[in-house]
Symmetry: C2
Subunit: 322 residues, 2 copies
């Protein structure tokens, strides 16, 4: 079998992006990088583990895409401009076909967002993928979780629940012929809302990406900001498939609590509503009002009939659902 | 069980270091960091996997130390000043005693080197630890692998083979009563040569940290630099225990090819020999001449009798030794 050094060199050193701010890339003890003057560095690290985040036998090209996408989504939620990535890959064996497909999925998405792979590590063990992304943001302009204030409006990009419905279908818990193929892409190859996050950075008071489900993620914003919020469920932006699913089952957990949507949830001062609507009008994915920030802690969910959803579903939590 | 968010918050958010260049630390989608003007950012990522890099049941405090130490060693090999770390931790279960001990080992070493933990991820799965470190270095001053030139002198810090001998003892392949406890610390809790790397940055032409064994790591420098080298085995700096082991067995693989020493191997232009010796004299760990860079590719090892060691042992390679 080829050595780990060969593996890194062969599949990942030929990143198609060549950024002038990379003084030294893959192949030394460290990469050497140059942050532009007057910019803060935004960094985030995330791991995907076989059996926890994806099933055994998952398509490596999609895994390569998703491992980078979920990290770019964190930069998007900060309003940052993506720049560099590092990759720590743990593999049970050096399967060259798997590696070629994984690298293709990873590097294709990297090229799409101008991200250069600058370093990595390849180790033997149970399949797991850790990616760290690095981006830039002007001081004071980053979208933090702690800026929401009572009276702020809550908006989300795109639609919610498509990835969750696809996961139910994959697990055999939902059968909806014809719709599933369209939803699968939302689960398997999410597109991080990077441009949207950068556009929102001048306007929103707080932001998070919806990876654990809207209720849980808005809850994180509320907790960090020392506030609460009410969500209006009839206002949640959903695809026809999710709308039909909720209408047929009464189960709001798919748009509210299923993870993996990778949309952005932002809060905006009410005085800037016209501004945020103008910014959102330019988004192909849409930007929808879904609720209001309040002084009382916690996240409340109002059903279409005006009553409160009881036992609001928590987001997917690896250590709580076990 | 507590949620993953609670886990991160409880054990890792209370990093004792508070650096002014951390605008936003653990707890948001990204950390926000400030690289000093006129400095390059040096980054390195490494994973330790249970069953590959450490045995099941390994002491969590030592793992926390080692996971950070091996990454700081990469910064040392670059001559960089450590600043920040991120931690992606995959755990089979949320064992609070384990986490408390791991965090203590990690954060104690971090404090020792002024490193602030700025972000992380906790996931469920087979035990694995990925750390990324970030440091600073002045442009043009970093110790790269590609700067060695024919005629340069090869030096190493400290002593070689102690960690390897401890590993043999741990595996029951070597019995040396009395010496093992002293060697175990070299294997379990290596101290990265950070100050030494920064001092060498002005003088050495190339550097690497000895993680795969001297022969293999000098081989990486030689390959990246387009040169070769000869090592003089009778000049290798070794502890009395390793000297006795080699004398008794004739096995040079312990000082030459066992991994985990985390010493630095540097090359230096011959014209700067007085300078490097002066720098080395200030090191508590010592700095020893072990060979010379040559035009012919490959690494040759000269035995004390002047003959060539045949079949030079390769370094530890996760995908080659499987």
């Amino acid at each position: 079998m080829p050595s780990e050094f060969d593996l890194i060199a062969r599949y990942f050193a030929r990143s198609p992006v060549t950024r002038p701010d990379v003084a030294l890339g893959v192949g030394d003890d460290c990469a050497l990088l140059e942050v532009p003057p007057g910019r803060q560095l935004a960094v985030s690290i995330d791991t995907l583990v076989e059996g926890t985040h994806f099933a055994k036998g998952a398509e490596p090209r999609l895994l390569g895409h998703k491992a980078l996408a979920v990290n770019l989504s964190d930069l998007a939620a900060m309003g940052a401009e993506p720049a560099w990535a590092t990759l720590a890959l743990t593999l049970p064996a050096a399967d060259e076909d798997w590696l070629a497909a994984f690298a293709d999925g990873f590097l294709t998405l990297a090229a799409q967002f101008g991200v250069q792979l600058v370093g990595g590590d390849t180790t033997r063990g149970p399949l797991a993928i850790t990616v760290q992304v690095h981006g830039f943001v002007a001081p004071g302009r980053a979208l933090r979780r702690d800026g929401a204030r009572p009276g702020d409006l809550v908006y989300v990009t795109g639609t919610l629940g498509d990835a969750g419905l696809a996961l139910l279908a994959q697990q055999g818990l939902f059968v909806g012929l014809g719709v599933v193929p369209n939803l699968r892409a939302r689960l398997d190859s999410p597109i991080p809302r990077v441009a949207e996050g950068r556009a929102l950075a001048g306007v929103a008071s707080a932001a998070i990406d919806v990876s654990d489900g809207l209720a849980a993620d808005l809850g994180h914003v509320a907790e960090r900001s020392g506030v609460g919020a009410t969500l209006h469920l009839d206002c949640l932006p959903v695809s026809p498939a999710v709308r039909d699913y909720v209408a047929g089952t009464g189960d709001w957990s798919v748009p509210l609590a299923a993870g993996d949507d990778y949309e952005l949830c932002v809060t905006v001062p009410a005085a800037r509503q016209a501004e945020i609507e103008a910014v959102g009008a330019a988004f192909g994915c849409g930007l929808t009002w879904v609720g209001t920030v309040e002084r009382a802690p916690g996240v409340r969910c109002l059903l279409p009939d005006g009553s409160l959803l009881s036992g609001a579903p928590a987001g997917w939590d690896h250590f709580r659902d076990g």
